[in-house]
Amino acid sequence: MTSTTYAPTLPVPAIPLREWLPWAIFAGLIFLLAIYFVGAEEGATSLISGMYVHEFVHDGRHLLGFPCH
């Protein structure tokens, strides 16, 4: 049986902040907005009127750990 050696040497250089930041800001905002709609819209605060979003994601909101009702 041959022995394999684990060589933990794949250091990858850091991505310059200049390159990372625009992605982080734009995509990050969209992701946070998506999480907001699943987690809090039409609960504590409301961007669109009615209760449809709240009722639709109801079970997921409870099970994902967000306060609901």
Partner: protein, 249 residues
Amino acid sequence: MVRTLLVRGMLVGIVAGLLSFGFLKVYGEPQIDRAIAFEAQLDQAKAAAEKAKGMAMPAEQPELVSRPVQAGLGLFVAVMVYSAAFGGLFGLAFAFAQGRMPGDLDPQALAGLLALIGFVALYLVPNLKYPANPPSVGDPETIGIRTALYFGMIAISLAAMVLAISLKNSFSARFGEWNANLAVAACYIVVVVAAGLLLPSINEVPDEFPAVVLWKFRIASLGAQFIMWAALGLLFGGLTQRAVVLRRA
């Protein structure tokens, strides 16, 4: 580079979401049903008591979304949006941490570590203070404060984690590698325990709510998060490791 990691994160998030949805569908939904049955019982008892007193019955509210839709498509969409978003954020966090995180980890190990950090800082610790609650637990009047406290706890936990890790290098220089890890953990724990003690507690569980249902509901919530973060870390790490090895070859 950032784009690749971002897209990979979202795709892995979708797979993680499918696994987590499957678990919630099988193990989480029965608990929701039991909690709703308990709520219906309470409502009936209340209505009967009011009728006996000769008070007007409150009008039945029309159902906006039916139970099967809430438990099926609704749950699916909620979990998938949540997982894909966290997958994307995970990709961004990885892109930042790569080459910056103390410890010269290779991609696989870094992704695993980041997923563990995400699970602990964003779900586990905030939920020790403000645990997930099934339907019929929670007063609609306090939703604002409960939401603010929950998100506040997440923010404190995440900030404490980032701060503690950023101190790692100066700890290692002084106390050595192993002790530096312990010191990072200790910093994080001190801050979140302090926050947990200072922030107000919330307990709105009705007296007669079945304890077993509450326990199983919270375990379902915990299990789904564990599955999602584990899948994120392992799949993202595996794919990124492979891509780096191929690029080097």
